[in-house]
Structures are given as structure tokens and as C-alpha cells.
Amino acid sequence: MRVRVDDELCHGHQMCAISAPEVFGSDDYGNAVVLIDGPIPADLEAATRRAEGNCPERAVIITEEE
């Protein structure tokens, strides 16, 4: 699993960082940044999915790898 934040859609609700603080953080303006380079560790996948489901702007984009 990989995750990114669509900067055009993100308006800094911070719901992703609340759902998955190990995966998402905030830049100086309060917009979301992904803290993990590369694939999401297995033990953080559930929290990452919760972050996706909690974003009011649907700005958290998950891609599954084969």
C-alpha cells in the first residue's frame, strides 16, 4: 500500500493526522503531508485506510500494489 495527499484537494482539516499520526503530519500552513517514504508498513495500513475514510475533501489517495 502507498498513500499520497492531493494538494489541490487538501484544505488542512487534519483528519488524516488524527486518524493516523504515524503516517500523516502537517506543514507550516496546517496542510497534510505524508511522513512515510515508500510503502506503508503493514501495521499502519488499517490506520491509513481510516485516514482515507475520514478526509472530508477526499484528498487522501491510497494505491494498492500487486
Binding site: 488542512g12 482539516h13 487534519q14 507550516d28 496546517g30 481510516r50 475514510g53 478526509c55 472530508p56 475533501e57
Partner: protein, 403 residues
């Protein structure tokens, strides 16, 4: 003035109706499930009220059609230009693109999660002091003695204006948003007090700059190499006070009102403190205090509704947050709700700039209360009074607890 009772909520709603203010959710549920989920009224200058999540979010995102230059559900006096200081707005909440972009970037860093963290300990100390004042009495007004006292002092501290005038600030803000929403004379009188207060404060900071206060920061700030105009600084200070006080106070009050009636939720928070961040979001969803308004900048048809230039549209975020299409069992408070795409802080470019501070205050206020007063109940559910209009929350909420 006698107010006609509402017979048809689809075509003649009244957001100031007493029963609606006390409990708006059944009305929204009926409208949402009906054939006309975007209601209309001619009352209070006329407005439209969407009730479905997708409609509310679509209106909020369409900033081209719906301007934020008018954010009150009630119309201004005349065309709005005859009142004193008519050029002072409340940017960025009252701004449209492109000005909105820089006006918002000016204040966002102040309210990032990292920046607001420094107010946590002070907020906790304040909550403890307030509780010290009534904990031995075995009873308190959770709204007036506690919730109402917290955000005003946090904002005063940020602005560097001293907390000794908190009661005055509270009364000005109620004058603008609560009493003043229905009474333009009261609204404008209180608006003038706020603006003249900040004119003095801005002059003082120019003469005596301080190290760590928001007003000094704004007076020293620049946009594209130019100093920020005084009208803009005044407007942003106005916003801090008007948007930062009774909104958060209402959220704290509603949450305590809920917890007073739900011992199982108090126990859940005690036993599983790790759910606090989710619980705060769930309480914000279930009891969202804020309904903003926008104004159509051109004629447009939305879902068959003929919206005319100049019409107001309510951003009914509290109704969106109870939509069963988006939230399972929307009327139930589920503190560890797994998926919670709530829009209590709005959606799109006007997402509440102070949201990180608001949720910090809400969490600390509730944690501290439950730590000190783990068991409490409403003294008399019928005596709870609510403010409504554009900010909904309890204004009197008596609770009893063991000493």
C-alpha cells in the same frame, strides 16, 4: 413583532424558531428524506437551506457562484455601506479568491497543529481554575460557568489583550452573533465596540511592539513586499474574536450536555483514553455548532432550485453531519466511529482556520472536566436553554455532581 408559526418547513422555515433552535435535527431529517431537500424561506430576508451532505459540500466548494462577502443569514441594513467602518470585514472568512489566498496564508501558520500546541498547558490550567471555583458546591452551570469562560481567554491570550476584559468580549460577540443576528441595531453597536477596541490595540502595538502576540505580528507582516493595510488587520482581529469564541464555547457546552446524559460514554473515555481524538471528532460531528452563509453572485439553478443573484444560502454543516447516506446511525454518538468525514469545520477553501485550536480546547476542556468531575448529571433537562441561528449550543446547562 409577532412571529408567524412555521406550517411548512420546506417553503417557510425559520432558523430562529424556538423548537428548531432547541432541536433542529427532526426538521432536517424530514427535509432530507423528502422531495425537496433544499428548503427555502422568505423570512429574515430570504434564504435557501440544503440538508444533504453532498449538497452542502457542493455549495461550499462552489466559491465562484457563492461569495463569502455576506456570511450572515440576515441581510445588512440598506446596502451595508452606510454603517460605520463598513470597509472592515473579517478576512479571510469574508474573502473570495484571489484575495482569500493571501489573507488565509497570513493566519494559517498561527493555527497549525504545531503552533497551537503551545496553548495546551495554559488551557488546562485555566480549566482547572474554573473547576476549582465550583467543584465543592456540587453543582455548576456547565455552559455559563465553564464552557463560556474558556475560548474567550485563550483568544485574548493569543491576541495579547489580557483576560481581565473577557466578560466584555463575550458580551460583544453575543451582541454580534446571538442577540444581534435578529437585531441589526444591537449587532452594529457591538461591531463598532469590537472595531474601536482593536483600533486602539493596533495603535498600541505599533508604538510598543511585543514579542509574542498576534496583533504585533499582523502589524509587522507583509504581503508581496507591502505592509498589510490597517483595514485588513482590523478585520482579521475582528474575525479572531467573533469566530473564535462562541463557536468553541458552544461545542464544549453541547459535549458536556451530552456526557451529562451518557454515563456509558464517560466510562468509555475513562477506560479507553486512546479514543479521545476520535471522540472529539464525533462530538463535533453530532453537535456541530456552526452554520455559515454565502450569497449567490449570479442566478443559478441547483437541483431544480432557482437561486437568484443576492440570495443567501445556508451552509448547514450540522445537517450534513447527520446525513444517513454518509454516516451510519447518524443520530447516535459513537465515540470511536471508524469513518467520520464530518464537515463541522466546513469544506473547501474556507475550512475553519482555527480548527486545530478549537479541537485542542474541546479536548482539554472535556478531559479536565471528566478528570475532576467524573460523575455528573443534568439538574433539570427542561431548564437547559439553547442559542441557535448560526451558532448553536447550550447557554444554560445546570449539572449536579457528588462532592
Amino acid at each position: 413583532m409577532a412571529i408567524e408559526p412555521v406550517l411548512d418547513w420546506t417553503t417557510d422555515y425559520d432558523i430562529f424558531d424556538d423548537e428548531f433552535v432547541r432541536d433542529p435535527y427532526p426538521v432536517w431529517e424530514d427535509l432530507r428524506a423528502g422531495e425537496c431537500p433544499v428548503a427555502h424561506t422568505a423570512r429574515w430576508g430570504g434564504s435557501w437551506m440544503p440538508t444533504r451532505y453532498d449538497d452542502v459540500v457542493a455549495f461550499a466548494h462552489d466559491v465562484e457562484t457563492f461569495t463569502s462577502q455576506q456570511i450572515l443569514v440576515v441581510p445588512p441594513i440598506g446596502d451595508g455601506t452606510q454603517i460605520p467602518y463598513s470597509d472592515v470585514a473579517a478576512p479571510p472568512i469574508t474573502s473570495d479568491p484571489p484575495e482569500h489566498h493571501w489573507a488565509r496564508r497570513l493566519i494559517l501558520p498561527i493555527f497549525s497543529p504545531q503552533s497551537v500546541a503551545k496553548y495546551e498547558q495554559g488551557t488546562r490550567d485555566l480549566c482547572n481554575q474554573l473547576i476549582d471555583g465550583f467543584v465543592d458546591a456540587g453543582r455548576a452551570d456547565a455552559a455559563a460557568d465553564y464552557a463560556q469562560q474558556i475560548p474567550v481567554r485563550v483568544i485574548a491570550t493569543m491576541l495579547g489583550v489580557g483576560t481581565d476584559r473577557s466578560d466584555e468580549f463575550t458580551s460583544w460577540v453575543r451582541g454580534v452573533l446571538e442577540v444581534g443576528l435578529k437585531d441589526p441595531v444591537v449587532r452594529i453597536a457591538n461591531r463598532i465596540k469590537i472595531i474601536e477596541f482593536f483600533m486602539e490595540q493596533i495603535a498600541d502595538r505599533r508604538a510598543n511592539p511585543r514579542d509574542d502576540d498576534l496583533i504585533t505580528e499582523l502589524t509587522q507582516g507583509e504581503v508581496d513586499g507591502h505592509p498589510i493595510p490597517d483595514t485588513h488587520i482590523l478585520g482579521t482581529c475582528n474575525l479572531m474574536l467573533v469566530a473564535g469564541i462562541d463557536t468553541t464555547w458552544s461545542a464544549i457546552g453541547s459535549s458536556l450536555w451530552h456526557l451529562a446524559q451518557h454515563p456509558e460514554h464517560r466510562a468509555q473515555l475513562r477506560e479507553r483514553p486512546e479514543i479521545w481524538p476520535m471522540a472529539v471528532e464525533e462530538l463535533l460531528r453530532a453537535y456541530s455548532p456552526v452554520t455559515m452563509a454565502r450569497m449567490a453572485s449570479k442566478d443559478v439553478e441547483v437541483n431544480g432550485c432557482p437561486i437568484r443573484e443576492g440570495d443567501r444560502v445556508l451552509m448547514t454543516f450540522p445537517a450534513a453531519n447527520r446525513d444517513p447516506e454518509v454516516f451510519e446511525n447518524p443520530d447516535e454518538v459513537i465515540l470511536d466511529r471508524e469513518h467520520n468525514r464530518h464537515v463541522a469545520f466546513g469544506a473547501g477553501i474556507h475550512r475553519c482556520a482555527g480548527s486545530n485550536l478549537a479541537r485542542l480546547e474541546l479536548r482539554v476542556a472535556l478531559e479536565t472536566w471528566l478528570e475532576r468531575i467524573p460523575e455528573f448529571a443534568l439538574a433539570d433537562p427542561g431548564s437547559v436553554t439553547w442559542a441557535g441561528g448560526q451558532v448553536r449550543g447550550p447557554r444554560q446547562c445546570l449539572v449536579n455532581f457528588p462532592t
